[in-house]
């Protein structure tokens, strides 16, 4: 039986891991190579790197980071940030990514998902959706949450999947970095709407939050602050989830 994945997320900028609250106030959280290697040793099922600066110089740093992490990492690596065209995804894959995350560019140009899936296969294409609660329901935001797209989050997940996304990385902007738990209603709505795997992101504080996300339908749970700050470890989290009766790789 397919196990539920625990995915530490490394938000990187200029070759360092950073972390903010609701995408703001970034602070240094360590070296991506050291953190990725440590998380693999602790039992992480996958690593996600999201590069938060998509300038030309930042992009070169991101490629160096991916290359360096790949050398030490023998579990899957998903990389997002600054992917605007097939060529950008290709560079990340050549550097050592196994899957590529696309966010703002897919909002601007949904056919990008089709081009990526056609070139690399759907299992390589992760649609990252940053969603926030508004008066009109869950809406999709782009450019690190700074700009609205007018899209409904659930409808965008359905359209993105139809166009070629093989996985949805669903982040609640309201909960990101706040350690107040995942937005379970949003998660459940998206999980019911699509047939591809859904990764829950934004707000994890404790193993109870991770378990709640899996019970809401998530195939994988992503967390950053909770692991970087040393509150807990991947190993402890996996042990607790297994004791709860969830299928976990030990």
């Amino acid at each position: 039986m397919l196990t539920r994945r625990i995915i530490p997320c490394l938000d990187t900028r200029d070759g360092r891991v950073v972390k903010g609250v609701r995408f703001q106030g970034l602070r240094d959280a360590g070296s991506p190579v050291e953190l990725a290697a440590r998380y693999e040793r602790e039992g992480a099922d996958e690593i996600v790197i999201l590069d938060v600066v998509a300038t030309d110089r930042g992009r070169d740093h991101a490629l160096e980071t991916v290359r360096a992490v790949r050398e030490v990492l023998s579990i899957p690596l998903t990389v997002g940030g600054g992917v605007r065209e097939v060529r950008d995804a290709e560079r990340l894959l050549e550097a050592g990514a196994d899957k590529v995350g696309v966010n703002s560019a897919a909002s601007d140009d949904p056919a990008l998902l089709e081009r990526l899936a056609h070139t690399f296969g759907v299992q390589c294409v992760v649609l990252a959706i940053d969603a926030a609660t508004t008066a009109d329901g869950w809406r999709v935001f782009k450019r690190s949450g700074s700009e609205g797209t007018g899209r409904d989050a659930v409808e965008w997940a359905i359209e993105g999947t139809r166009r070629g996304a093989g996985e949805i990385l669903l982040t609640s902007i309201d909960r990101d970095g706040t350690r107040s738990g995942y937005d379970l209603a949003l998660l459940s709505a998206v999980c019911h709407a699509v047939g591809v795997p859904v990764v829950a992101s934004g707000g994890a504080r404790s193993v109870e939050d991770l378990i709640a996300a899996v019970e809401a339908g998530a195939d994988a749970v992503l967390a950053a602050s909770m692991f970087h700050d040393g509150d807990t470890t991947v190993a402890l989290v996996k042990q607790a989830m297994q004791q709860h009766g969830l299928e976990i790789r030990q």
Partner: protein
């Protein structure tokens, strides 16, 4: 045997991960799409990420289909990964117009729609009989299609995602995995090391 290992340049694959895993074995992998090298290399790896039709067309355009078929039929050291395993079959529901190498009988079929597809994540590998290379454990899979019938003359391992399917087949120094050994942590590293030692 030398430590020579050639990785078939299949276009859009996660080649960097495969190369990094082989380097961690102590190997010095080389990329090639030369038919003579595909026939003669001491060890050959056929990686695979992408669509069945595109990969099958690329292999034929590069003149590699016959070389690969000869090599696998000869029993020479060989490792196929993910789509690389499916390409050994006759065809795939993914690209009905394309034909595979036809080295093993059968057709890759789509995983059932009762579960999430693509299958992305860690699932079991359960060998069905004693095999010197395949051992039970968890491996990382990234697939929407799979073979359901193991070929005669190979030992095999199975797993289940909605329905049972072939996780890997093995025959002497030849191993073909539906999962990604290069992404399967220490278990995957150990599997590759056993394959390497069997070559």
């Amino acid at each position: 045997m030398t430590s020579e290992i050639v990785v078939v340049r299949t276009g859009s694959a996660n080649l960097a991960s495969v190369l990094a895993a082989l380097r961690r074995l102590g190997a010095l992998p080389r990329l090639s799409n030369n038919a003579d090298e595909v026939r003669q290399a001491d060890r050959l790896v056929l990686p695979g990420v992408g669509s069945f039709g595109a990969a099958s067309t690329n292999l034929r355009h590069a003149g590699l289909a016959d070389a690969l078929t000869d090599r696998v039929r000869s029993g020479a050291p060989f490792l196929a990964i993910c789509l690389g395993l499916q390409l050994l079959a006759e065809g795939s529901d993914e690209s009905p117009e394309a034909s595979g190498l036809g080295i093993v009988p059968g057709q890759a079929t789509r995983l059932p729609d009762t579960v999430r597809v693509p299958q992305l994540g860690w699932n079991r590998v359960t060998p069905t009989s004693g095999d010197p290379i395949l051992e039970p454990g968890y491996a990382y899979y990234a697939n929407s299609y799979a073979l359901t019938t193991p070929p005669v003359g190979w030992t095999h391992a199975t797993t289940t995602h909605g329905a049972p399917f072939v996780a890997a087949i093995s025959r002497g120094p030849q191993l073909a995995c539906q999962f990604h050994p290069e992404l399967s942590g220490q278990w995957g590293h150990d599997l590759l090391a056993r394959w390497w030692a069997a070559c």
